[in-house]
Every structure is written in C-alpha cells, then in structure tokens.
C-alpha cells in the first residue's frame, strides 16, 4: 500500500468516527437522539472548546506544567533506573538481596502512592514528578538490568582478548548494550512519564492537563473533558514523534526490526 492510500484510509477512520458521533448526538433517529449531548457532548462543542483554550492562551500554562513534570519524571526516573539496573546486574548479591522488594514495589499499583506523594511533596509539580518517577524507574531498571545481563559472551570475551580492562569493558561493551535495551523501551518509559504526570494532576493539583480534565468533570462539563482528552492525545503524539526521531539517531547501528514498543 502506498503512503497516500494509507493516509487517506487513516483520515477516513477519523471522519467516520467523528461523523457517527456527530449524527448520534445531534440528529434525532426515530424521534430520539440516541446519545444525549449532556453525557456525550458534540464534536462541534469540543472543537469550539479547544479553539477557545488556544485562542485565549489559557491552555499553554497547563501544557507547559504537564510537559515539565513529564520531562523531569522521565530524566530522573531513567537516570535512577539505569544506574541501579547497572549496579544490580554487576553485583548479583545486591540483586539477590533486593529482588523480593523490587518485585513487591513494582507489583504495587502506583496510583495508591499518589496521596502519599501529595502529603509529602505538596500539591505542586514535585508530587506528580515523583509519581512519574516510580513508573519510569522500573521500566528503565528492568531493561538496563537485562541489557547488561544479556551481553553476548563472545563479544565480552572478544573485548577481553583485545585487552580491555574492567572499566573499558564497562564503557565499550556493557554500557552500549544496556543503552540499546533502554532505548528500545523509550516509547514505554516516555509514555509512563506522561501517565504519572496526568494521573497525579487529576488526583490533586492546581494546574496541568489532568487538572483541566478533573475540573471539567467536576462541573459535568463533558465538552471540557473531551477537549482535555483531545489535547492530551495530541500532546502524547507529538512527544512520541520526537522520541521516534531520537531513537532513529541513537540506534543507527541496529538492524531494522519489527516495532519494539515494549
């Protein structure tokens, strides 16, 4: 299938869904409107709302807050995950001691931590960053751990035979291998950073996209909720395109593989 046809079909899906939504919420069928606009809003109302937000510029502040929280959560979580993953992989004893606790914390639904973080760090951005970190950390941690563990023994032996010291092995063999695993999970970890930020905002904050959605919901403003969701979706897609571009640059040495949005 060529690009133009694919794009046409992708647009068609959007047109059909929005069209159906519009018809079902606006045009009476057999005398009744099947989806009452009070609960389902209308595409035109949602579009109007988004237009309004951007026209008066009020949405930029919220986007900026969410972006800041996501980036902070991603950077801190990735750094922590990479360092600890590396450390655990090189020191099997440490890994063995902490293993049950890592599993326990990872199994915990992170939402339950949100109130604790709000208590500790207040309603500002840091409680959201903390929630994002708890999500990002484990994704990166597991991938880096695996990456260091699964270095090809032949490549490792080759490094040794070429005269590499432990430090040089670290720099030329373990680290690139771990990074490649980490980058292959970049989409997941960036996504989690945004999830952490938005969920945190939703549960208690004064700004951000999550706050916007939560406020609209509080006054049964369904158009506002949908508008918030639409802006959030666009926000995530833009970030995802950015991640794809970074990924393509960093992983040039890897053969093209089927998508690994692990």
């Amino acid at each position: 299938m060529n690009r133009a046809t694919l794009l046409a079909l992708q647009v068609l899906v959007a047109v059909v869904v929005v069209g159906l939504w519009h018809v079902l919420t606006s045009v009476p069928i057999f005398g009744t409107v099947l989806l009452p606009p009070f609960f389902f809003s209308r595409p035109s109302d949602v579009a109007m709302r988004i237009w309004q937000w951007f026209a008066d510029g009020s949405v930029w502040k919220h986007l900026w807050i969410t972006l800041t929280e996501s980036v902070l959560a991603f950077v801190i979580g990735s750094l922590g995950g990479a360092l600890v993953g590396f450390w655990f992989a090189r020191k099997p004893l440490v890994a063995a001691v902490f293993d049950p606790y890592v599993k326990m914390v990872n199994a915990l639904p992170r939402v339950v931590l949100a109130p604790i973080f709000a208590l500790w760090l207040g309603l500002g951005i840091w409680s959201k960053v903390a929630l994002g970190i708890t999500l990002v950390f484990f994704v990166v941690f597991f991938n880096v751990y695996q990456g260091v563990k699964e270095v090809s023994p032949t490549v490792l032996a080759n490094g040794r035979m070429l005269g590499m010291s432990e430090r040089q092995l670290m720099r030329h063999v373990y680290w690139p291998s771990a990074l490649s695993w980490m980058f292959s999970s970049l989409h997941t970890s960036v996504g989690f950073a945004v999830v952490g930020a938005v969920v945190g905002e939703y549960l208690g904050s004064a700004a951000g996209l999550g706050y916007l959605i939560q406020q609209a919901e509080g006054v049964f403003d369904v158009a506002g909720v949908f508008a918030g969701m639409a802006v959030l979706a666009a926000f995530v897609i833009v970030i995802d395109i950015g991640v794809s571009m970074v990924e393509r640059r960093l992983l040039v040495w890897r053969p093209a593989t089927p998508d690994t949005h692990g």
Binding site: R160, M161, H172
Partner: protein, 302 residues
Amino acid sequence: MQETAANGAAREAAAGPRGDGLGGEGRGVESGSADRPCAVRLTDLDITFRLADRSTFTAVRNASLALADGEFVAIVGPTGCGKSTLLNASAGLLTPAAGSVEIFGAPLAGLNRQAGYLFQADALFPWKTAVENVAIGLEIAGTRTAEARERAKTWLGRVGLATFADRYPHMLSGGQRKRVALAQVLIRDPKILLMDEPFGPLDAQTRQIMGNLLLDLWSSDRKGVLFVTHDLEEAIALADRVVIMSAGPAARIIGDWTIPLARPRDIAEIKLDKAFHDLHREIWAVLREEVMKGYIQTGGAE
C-alpha cells in the same frame, strides 16, 4: 620419531600416557629453533566442566601440544571433541583442571596478553562501525583516536574493505564481518594467533578466499597460529602441522602430521595436488573412526 629439541619434551609427555601407537604417525616439526621457547606449550592438560547437576564433565584429558613460534598448527577433530577448549586454555579464557600452559616459556596466569583470538561466532561490537571496531584495540591501549582510525583504515584496506569503513556490522555480509574481525585482531600485532573455526559459518567459496587472505597476511610476518577446524581439507591446505583429536568426552590428541607442502600455497589449487591427496587419505583413515564415534555420541544431532 624425529623431533627437534624444542618440541621433544612436550611430545614425549604426550606420547607416554597415550600409548596407543598412533603417536608414531607424527613426523615431528622442522620449524622452531632449539634455543627459542615455544609460543604455546600445553603439557598434560585436563579440562573439566562442572555441570548443572554438580557432576563434572571431562572435555579434554592429558593433552600435550607445542606450537613453535612462526608455526601454523591446525587442530582437527569431530564436533564436540573439545578442540575449542584447548584454544580457550591457551587464551587464558578458561583454566585447566590439571597440567600447565606456557606462553613463550612463561606459565600463563590470567588472560594471554600476547595472543589475538578470532572467534567462531560474531564477536564484533555491533554498536561500532567497521573502522571503529578495528581501531578499538589500539584505542584502549592508549593510541590517539585519529591515529588509531588511520591505521584501522589501512588494515581495512588490507582485508579488502576500504570502502566499507563506516558500515555497521549488521550491514556487512558474513564474510565481510570475518574480514573486519581479522583486521581487528591483527592490528594489535599479537605474537600468537588463536583461531576457533573462524571460517566455519561461511560458504565454501568465501572460505577459500578467506583462507588465502589469511595465508597472505600470515606469510608477511609468520606468527604462531593455532587454528581449530573440523574441516580436514582446510587444515591440510593451511597448516604446517595437523593435530588430530579423538572424539569426546575426555578427548585426547591422537595424531600429529607435518604437512610438507611448499609455500606460498593457493588453497584452491593445492587441493588438486597429489601430495595433498596422499596426506588427506592417511589422516582421514585415523580421523574417520573418531568422527563416526563423535557422530553416534551426539545422537547425530549435528
């Protein structure tokens, strides 16, 4: 047995416990002078592995082998006989359970810093380009990056890959990757070359080309080479000496032939030589039995 003094001791040690008469087939070594120590000398080597169920598996028993400096020795044996473990012991990648490994007369402790190792499997760093892969051996030894890259490019030219310097390993064919690996090892100018079925995964034509390339590079400065292979023809075509191992477990060295074919050789042409055929027939008579044993032991899995 007519042997030079340099190899005498090790060979006698090998002949003693062997006692199966096959040692008589060996005709000694002409290369290697009496006053210089052997590049590699393995004496009464036992190599064992601990298995998952805590029992031990003896891969190699009582193996003795001497590689003179500048000599090209091929080790041939059936699959799974422990040929590679002899190589790994010489490299210091594994420690023998018994026996001694001496490199240029000094006992080996830790890794063998004087050896270059060409692996059977892909061992290039996938995240480095061809030229970076070749240069790394110099860079970690402290050569400036620019100079290391220059010399790496020269080496890539020598193995016929001058125009592929910026490709990553996955963009190269199997034969090209082997060439890069060869340059990566040789650029460090190791005193000894250890090669573990390096051309095993390649197709027949590429193997011939690689064999000639190897002989070409080797003839310029004649390092000691231990070359492991399961291909007897390849072994005879390349080596000064061919050593035969029995089927494992507890594999032993059961034969040692000098290959008196003249150098320089062309691998494709030498296989048409009558002397080549005679040697091949003679060695194969011994090897065939072991190959069949090995085949039955592995259940014909390979």
